[in-house]
Amino acid sequence: MTIGGIIGGILMLSGAAFLFLAGLGLVRMPDLFNRLQAGTKATTLGTLLTLAGAACLRPDWAVKLLLIGLFILFTNPISSQVLARAAHRTGTPQAAGTVDRLAEDREKRP
């Protein structure tokens, strides 16, 4: 058991734990925007941690894993932002107690 194997295993387990928490937030959160936050940020971190762990376990795959990680790091925030904008513009129902400053601004300046 090498030192790279230990670090890689710990990184992979923590990444899998973050993915589990993302799934749990997807089930438990009250409305779409909370679910969006749980379902995109936590999965980005979990995926990057898992890819780093895989790169520690197999150093000869590190370039390809870095490519996947960079791609996910660039595209996942874009997709979540586009989805949140579409949901807000089409008037998705929000949880009770939400303070929506963007909608207030829209009403003030049409």
């Binding site: 589990f20 979990g46 989805l83 513009r89």
Partner: protein, 86 residues
């Protein structure tokens, strides 16, 4: 030892996939289903990497790259459609 850690990570990731699948089937609005779909594709990318580690075949990582690309395009297309911009 490392093999056992990989299998535990695969099991936990599979539970996350089941949670996302529950939200995909139940989700009240269409955007909920798209969020669940996005989460499921990322979990699947991680699962492909775990399978590549378990099998020891580096060619599977190319599948993960293409899968991430296609899921990004799919989410963007559906979001634009929901916004009536497509």
């Amino acid at each position: 030892m490392v093999d056992i850690l990989i299998y535990i990570a695969a099991a936990v990731t599979g539970i996350a996939f089941l949670f996302a699948l529950y939200r995909f089937l139940k989700g009240p609005t269409a955007a909920d289903r798209v969020v669940a779909f996005d989460t499921m594709t990322l979990v699947t990318v991680v699962f492909i990497v775990i399978i590549a580690l378990a099998e020891g075949r580096g060619i599977y990582l190319d599948v993960a790259v293409i899968y991430a690309l296609l899921s990004f395009l799919g989410v963007i297309a559906v979001a634009r459609y929901l916004e009536r911009g497509l």
